[in-house]
Structure formats: C-alpha cells, structure tokens
C-alpha cells in the first residue's frame, strides 16, 4: 500500500477537479450529480487504510510541492472525507434544482480544496487549496440565488478575500522568515522571527475568518442557512475546520510560549462560545441556530488553541484533544445540518425514531454520556486541567467549559424547537435519507472506530465515562434543560397573554 | 577712389532702391522694373569693384553679359506670366489692392 498512497492522494485531489472538465458537456449533469458521493472515496480510503508518514514530493508544483500525512492531518482528512461522502449521498437525493452543473462544479472544486489542504505540506499547495475551497465555496453559498443568498455570498466573499489576503501576507512573512516553502518549517522559524507578533496576528485573523472567530464570524450565520443543506453540512462540518487546521499547522505551537496571544485566543474563544450561544438562541431558523452553534463550538476549540499557544509543554496533548473535538463536532454538526432537510415520516413510530435520530447528535454535542461528545468533553477537561497548565488564565478555563456545555445544549434545544416548527411530514428521497442516516451513524457509531488518539487523558473503555465523570457531564445539561423549560414557560405565558 | 568704385557705390545704392521697389511696390510690372534696377546695381558692383583694383577686367564683364541675358530671359518670362495672370484674374498684383499685407515677393 505504500506505493499506492501518493497515487491515492493525487487521485483524491484530482477526481473532484475533473468536474469542471465534465461540465463542458452539457448533458452529463445527471452523471455528475450521481457521482457526487464517489468523489471523496479515494480520500476516505487514504485516511482509513494508510498509516501516517508517507510523503509525496511534487517538485514541479508551484514553488515545489510536498504532500504528506501525519496523525493530525489524517484525522482531518478522515473527517473531511466522511462528511463530504455523506453529504454527497444526501445531495443526490436533495438536488432537484436548476443549475445542477454549476452546483456540482463548485462542489467538486470545494471538495478538492478541502481535501488537498489537509494533505499539503508546502505553503504553495496549502494556500492554493485553501483559496480554492474558499472561492469555490462561494458558489455553494449563493447557489439558491435568493436575495439573502446573494447578500450572504457578498459578505462571505468580502471577508474571505480579506482573510485570504491576511493569510497571504502572513504566509509570505513567515516563509521569508523561515526561508522555506514548507509549512513544517514555519513554527520553528516563527518562534524566532522578529516580526513574530505581526505574523501570528495575520495568520490568526486570516484563518479566523474561516474558523468563525468572534468578530470575523459575520458571514457564518448568514451563509450557512442560505446554502443548500448538504452544502451547509460540509461548510459547518468540514470547511470550518480548515481554518482550525490552518492554525494548527502554521502557528508556533510547542516552540515558544506566546502567553499574550494565548490569553487573547482564550478570551476570543470564550466570547465565541458564550456570545454565539446567546445570539443563537434568539434565532428563528434552525440552520441559523446551528450556525451559531458552530461558532460556539469553534469557540471552545479556540479556547484550547489559546491554551496550547500559551503553554508549549502542553501543546501536543492539546493537539490531540483539538483533533478529537474537531472530529466529533464535524460529524455531529454535519448530521444536524443534514437533519434540517429531512421530512418526518407519516407513522407515529417513524416520527419518534426520526426525532431521536435528529436529537442524538445534538445531545452528543452537549456531551451526552456514551456519545463522542462525552468523550470529547472529558478529554478537553482533562487537557485543560488547571494544575497541568502553566498559564495565567488556566483557572478560568473549567468554568468557561461548563458555561460552554450549557450553551451548547441550549442551542441544540433551540434548534430542535425551531426545527419542530418547520419540519413537515412527507416522503424523503431515498438517497437523502441514506445520506442523513449515514451521517448520524458516522457521528454516533463509526466515530469509535476512527483513528483518534487521546490515550492517557481518558480512561478505557473510552466510550464509557467513569461515574464521577457522568455527573460532571450531566449537571450542565440539567441546568440548560431547566433554562430551556423556563424559556418555554415564559414563551407560552407570553403567547397566551398575547392571544 | 576711382570711377569704378564710384559706379560700384552707385550700384550699391541702386541695389537698395531696387530692393525697396521689390519689397514695397505691389504692381507686378513695377516689381519687375525694380528687379531690373537692382540687377543693374549688382552688375555695376560686379564690374566696378574688381576694376577698382586691376583696371578693365574682361572676366566680370563676361559674367555681367551672361547676367544680363539671364535677366532679360527672366524679365520676358515674367512679363508673359504677368500678362496671362492679368488676363485670367484681372489683377496686376499678387494680393489685390485692398489687401497688401504681403507687399514683397516673399
């Protein structure tokens, strides 16, 4: 398999890139549509079957290309591949709209970018794929062609271009400081670069746009709701993580303690986690709520990132946690988004099952025991344990995490609430249903077989939290349930008063 | 001062007179007269000046003879042109009477 891996990598990237070419033939669009789920398969195989550590040198590419795989990248690649596959399956059933060709081309390009950037190690290809994903993603967002979509697209584009430029400047400075075209050389060089702070600021801001960092997040709640549902799923599940990956591979983790930046990131994460939740519960559209939930979740990851920035010792551990959390969130959020497009079956039983399947990934986000969420939350808690961190703000982290958990569940509940108002009974196209179910399956079950690695932080069996941990997971959930009930009561009272 | 020089000097004055006529008069025939007078002045200088030094000198005399023939040829041609011009345009000057801004042939 060693020889095949580079080939598979190239195939993974190039397969979706064939779509623009195929689009030249006007009558191939149905074939293109049905091929959507097949596109990420090479990447999926690559992520599942291969080990880390292979390299692919492409000296003729841009400024000299190097693609490689390590554990972190593998995790992200897997997440991306899985999410895109299920979303692709979903899309086959979902899509019955004009401009199919355009959608497919944009889908393919975005996918290629998203897959490519996880594998790219040289700056040129990484940035290329990143940009490809960004610009092609625009096509997914504005696809519906409504006024809202165009507005969202415009905001997205403006911020994305600003972000791209910020990344470009940051990468340029970094590469010049490192005198290398490889991402792997950047952190070390960055730690010693005279313009370190500027570069770090540029990179944080640049990738922050994608990752929905507070104040750079404006596009997110606009774009996710208006995009076609499968697109929202990948946007929120996979593409948002590209920003995160960008940070992870460029910033000087483990090299030097950037306590200032760490603190700022922690604050930003906290603001994101809490603030997005507050804004999110005020939303009326389910996908907008989910978008805010994504921001909120990303806030938690930023929190961890901040900690990792501030404490070089702890960074490797936190990396694993972040990876785990990203995987968990990506899968869960993907299923949630996909669920926004399903219809309820006619039968009572079916409806109950459907609601349970819809709610489970959400509850998993909130840390329901026996779900990936519980594992992620626990790992995070362990990773950010006060005593193991050498960091000024370390004391504030546990309460923040708790607040985040409460906020998460509130958002999920709000989502279910808004969704229930919107969901209609009807017949689901089989592929759509299959896609959604696959997503839920991936989030709830397949997750446990995925190659995440946080050994040492959580006790085995990993999917079963220890009893003392259960309480830790549950009490925030109870608080939020209480809050939700309160809100329901207030709302009912108000509406009855009105009527 | 010899007579030759005197004539040469007279030639100089004739040149001036002729030049004035050429520049200032507008009637073409008068211009022609002026040209001839100026020519005579030049011829006088041509012969007079060298003869002041060496006495009768056939070379400039021969030159002047040639010059005179050229002058008469030019004059005759000019007369023909002027007459035909007059015949066709009814004017005997280049610009007409009212507008004589360009008095000279330049």
């Amino acid at each position: 398999m060693m020889v095949a891996e580079p080939g598979l990598a190239v195939l993974a990237v190039c397969l979706p890139l064939l779509y623009p070419v195929m689009a030249l033939r006007a009558n191939w669009h149905r074939a293109m549509c049905f091929a959507l789920p097949l596109l990420p398969l090479p990447a999926f195989f690559l992520a599942v079957s291969s080990d880390s550590g292979w390299q692919l040198e492409l000296p003729w590419l841009l400024n000299g290309g190097l693609w490689a795989m390590d554990d972190l990248r593998r995790l992200f690649l897997l997440l991306t591949a899985v999410l895109w596959t299920v979303a692709g399956v979903y899309a086959v059933g979902y899509l019955a709209l004009p401009h199919m060709r355009r959608f497919c081309v944009c889908w393919g390009l975005t996918l290629a970018g998203n897959l490519g950037l996880t594998m790219a190690v040289d700056i040129g290809s990484f940035y290329s794929f990143f940009a490809l994903m960004t610009f092609a993603g625009y096509g997914l967002i504005v696809h519906e062609g409504t006024k809202e979509a165009h507005y969202a697209g415009r905001v997205y584009m403006a911020m994305a271009v600003l972000g791209e430029m910020s990344i470009l400047a940051g990468l340029l400075l970094a590469a010049s400081a490192a005198d290398s075209q490889l991402l792997t050389d950047l952190p070390t060089a960055l730690a010693r670069a005279p313009q370190r702070d500027l570069i770090v600021a540029l990179l944080i801001a640049g990738f922050g746009v994608k990752a929905g960092l507070p104040l750079l997040h404006f596009w997110l709640p606009l774009a996710h709701p208006v995009a076609p549902t499968p697109a929202s799923a990948v946007l929120s599940g996979a593409m948002i993580k590209a920003g995160l990956l960008g940070w992870l591979v460029t910033l000087p983790f483990g090299e030097v303690a950037l306590s200032g930046w760490g603190a700022s990131m922690v604050i930003a994460g906290a603001v994101g986690a809490i603030g997005a939740a507050i804004l999110g519960v005020l939303q009326h559209r389910p996908k907008a709520v989910l978008a805010y939930s994504s921001i909120s979740q990303m806030g938690l990851m930023v929190l961890m990132l901040g900690a990792a920035l501030a404490d070089p010792e702890r960074a490797p551990v936190l990396f694993s946690v972040i990876g785990l959390y990203a995987l968990h969130h990506g899968l869960a959020k993907g299923s949630l988004f996909l669920s926004a497009g399903v219809s309820l079956p006619a039968g009572r039983m079916g409806q109950v099952v459907t609601w349970i399947l819809i709610a489970l990934p959400g509850l998993s986000l909130a840390g329901l025991p026996f779900t990936s969420g519980a594992l992620a939350k626990l790992a995070m808690k362990a990773g950010l344990a006060e005593d193991s961190l050498d960091f000024a703000l370390a004391g504030y982290l546990p309460p923040l995490m708790t607040a985040g958990a409460i906020a998460t569940l509130l958002l999920v509940l709000r989502y279910l609430w808004t969704l229930s108002a919107k969901l209609e009974t009807g017949h689901n196209p089989p592929m759509l249903l299959a896609g959604w179910l696959a997503a839920v399956t991936a989030s709830l079950i397949a997750f446990w077989w995925m190659p995440w690695d946080v050994a040492g932080l959580v006790k085995a069996p990993v999917w079963l939290p220890a009893s003392y941990q259960v309480w830790a997971l549950v009490w925030p959930m109870l608080i939020s349930l209480a809050l939700a009930g309160l809100a329901l009561l207030v709302n009912q009272k108000r509406s009855s008063a009105r009527s | 001062m010899t007579p030759s020089l005197l004539y040469a000097m007279a030639g100089a004055v004739l040149c001036g007179i002729g030049l004035f006529g050429l520049l200032r008069l507008s009637h073409l025939l008068r211009k022609l007269l002026a040209f001839n007078i100026m020519g005579s002045g030049v011829f006088l200088i041509m012969v007079g000046l060298p003869q002041h030094h060496v006495g009768p000198d056939p070379v400039p005399q021969a030159l002047v003879l040639t010059g005179i023939v050229v002058a008469i040829a030019a004059t005759a041609l000019a007369v023909v042109l002027i007459r035909r011009y007059y015949h066709q345009s009814g004017m005997a000057s280049l610009e007409g009477e009212a507008d004589s801004r360009e008095g000279g042939p330049l």
Binding site: - | M46, V59, L81, Y85, P105
Partner: protein
Amino acid sequence: MTLWLMAGLLFTPLAWAVLTLLTDFVWGRRVTWVGILVQVFVSLGLWLTVAQNGGFYYDLGGWGAPLGIELRVDGLAVTFVLLTAAVASACGLHAGVYIDRHKSWHRYFWPLFWFLWSGLNAVWLGGDLFNLYVGLELISLSAVGLVALGGNANALRASIRYLLAALLGSLAYLLGVALIYGQFGTLSIAGVVLWLDSHSASAGPGLALALMVTGLALKTALFPLHRWLPPAHGIAKSPVSALLSALVVKASFYIAARLWLAFGESLGNQAAAQAVGFMGSAAVIWGSWLACKQVQLKQVVAYSSVAQIGYLFLLFPLTYSVSDSISLQAQQGITLQVISHALAKAAMFLAAGNLILSVGSSRVDALAGVSRFLPFSLFSFGLAGVSLMSLPPSGGFAAKWLLLQASLGSGQWWWALVLLAGGLLSAAYLFRIYRASFAEIPETDQFFHPSKSLEVIPMVLALMALGLGFVSEQVLSVMALPFAEEGAP
C-alpha cells in the same frame, strides 16, 4: 571612363531637353524613358567610380580653376547626383502617366523637366560661384515654367510669386559673388578657401557670405522667407511639386551649405550661425503649425516642406566653431536629412497626387474611406510620412539621430529640443491626414482608380526613404570620401 561618365552626365539632360522640345508629349515620354535610363546608369557609374577611387576635379573645356570652370566631383556631389537621378526618374516616370497628354502645352513639360535636371546636376557638381548662379537660374526658371505650365490664375499667381522670390534670391547671391570676386579675384570656391587659409580674413566679404546665404535661404524658403513656397508647391502638378520639394529647394540649400562649410569658419560668426539656426527652428515650428491648419492636402505637404527645410539650417550653428567630429556628425546628419527628405517628400507628393486623382478633390477631409480604395498609395504616403516624422528606421530618423548627437555633443541642446518638437509636430499634421483617410463614411464610394504604375513609383521612393536608415553608414561613407588632391588649384 570617368570622362565619358562626366560628359554623359552633363550632356544627356541638355540633349534630351532639346530632343523632347521637338516632340509631342507621347514621343517625349518615350524619349524620356531612354534618357532616364541613360542618366541613371551614368549617375550610378559615377557614384561607383567615386566610391571606389575618391573624388576629383573636372575641368570643363580643359580650363582649370581660376580661369575656367571646374566641377568638383566628390562623394557628396555624386551622392546627390544619384539622388537626383532616382527622384527625377521617379517623377518623370510618374509624370508620363499622370499628366494629361491631350493638352498640347503639356509637351513642354519634358524639356523643362530635363533642363531642371541638368541645372540640378550643374549645382551639385559646381565649384565655381558664378557657374552656380547660372545653374540656380536654370533651375529656378524651369521650375517656374513647370509650375506655371498651362496653369490657371492661381497657378500663375504662385509661379509669379515664386519667380520673383527666386530672382531676388539669385540677385542677392550674385551680389555676394560680386563682392567675393572683388575681394578675392577668383570665382572658384576652392580658390577662395585656399586664399582664406593663407590670409587673415577681412571684414568685407562677411557681408558677401551673408548675402549669398540670405539669397539662397530665400530660394530655399527658410522662415520667414518661405511664403512663396506653399502656393507654388501646392498648386503645381504633383510630379512637379515632387521635383520642386525634393530637389529644387535642396539645390540652393546645398550651395549655401557648401559656402558655409567652406567660408563659414573664416567669414561667419557665432551670432549669425545661431540666428540662422533660430530661423531654421522657427521654420520647423511655424511650418509644422501651419501645415496642421491647411485644408488642402498638397498644402499640408508643402508646409511640411517649409518645416523640414528648417532642419537643414541647423547645419549652420552645429558646424560653427565646434570640434571636427561634431561638425562631421552635423554634416552627415544634414546630408541624410536632405536625401531622406527628398525621397520621402517626392514619394509623398506623388502619392498625394494619386490620392487627389482618386477622390477627385484636393481637400484633406475628402480622403475619408480612401484607405479602402487606394490603400497602396496611402501606404506609400504613410511610409514617406514615417521618414518625415523622423521615426525609425527611416533615413529621416538617422538624420535626426546624428543631429541630436551633434547638438548634444556641442552643448547646444536647444536644437535637440527643436528636433524633437519638430518630429512631434510633423506627426501631428501627418496623422491628421491618416486620420481623415481612416474615417469611415458610408456614402463615399466613388473613387477613380489610377493606373498601377502611378501607385508603384511613390512606393518605391518611400521604401528608399525608409530603407535609407539601414544603409546610412554606406551612404555616408561615400559622402565623406577624401578628395584626390591633385585636381585642386
């Protein structure tokens, strides 16, 4: 061999003048073809001879310099002889087709044409001041005759004006000759130079030089003495205009230049040189400006001549009290300017004639659409224009380059500015014509197609003007050939 060539050169045009005088137009044309052939061969032969063996003095009638007349056959002279052969042949061939043979008086075109040619040859080769005067008169009168040929009132007015100017110029020149003879007792330029070399200059003959140059400047139409030129050149038949602009004005300039180069150093002064240069500059600017304002096509070309002539007079300041190399540069530049302007302007007038013939009007704005119907002539016009604008790779550009070098090298940078401004202004008036011809106006589809030979001739000339830039080095090397000194007095 050389003797034969010289005799052929002097004899042919005069003999053909007589022959064509006796024939009617059509026969005159045929006879002329033969004559042109002979002249071209003779000129070429002479040029080659000089290019190989260097220049020499040719004693006419067997009488040497102070007593008789000697012709100075040097590289420059034969270059101009060859140039004349080229341009005059082209004009003659063109005229043979262009001029209406049904008008009986057009038969006189040929003898006048040949006399003009002989006069030109006499001037290029002339080494004797008075002989040059006669040559000038020969040129002037035949030129006047050509302008007036069968003309209407306007042509006559122009030719009378031309005649008077030419006569006044000749007289001024002759006056200068008289003074020179009075001072030096010789009419040979070489003799005078010899005398000046061995004696200190006196104040008297300074005026002689000034008079001669002024008279010649008048004949060359140097600003502000240029007013006779545009009407004459504008109204004459196109082949005649071509001859006049290309060669006739150059003859008088040539003499002026030779005189200045021979006597200027001793008899001239800096102020005068600068003043002449200033006049030349004014001519460049003013002539170009007026060319921009003309409504008649040929008037534009004629005023362009005024402007282009201005360049020539930059010779005076650029050769006065400067180092030899710079002076040589300036001389070479001016020579190239003369040649390229002759070729280009002849091409331009001939092409303009074709255009006028084609559209049936001489107005510039009548040219709209002609680019589609007479592209060849327009292209010739354009190529000639390239040389006039002194854009590379034309001869005009080579000339301008050398002049720029000379003016910068001598520290007289202001002439460089004049050169550049002149180039731009000439572009202004020439592109006005192209612009008119490129305009697409739908209803103008009535065009007369002149015969192919009429179109080819200006093209050949224009190409020569254009290609001159590439061979300037060769041309100039012949020009600068030293004399075989034994012939000198």
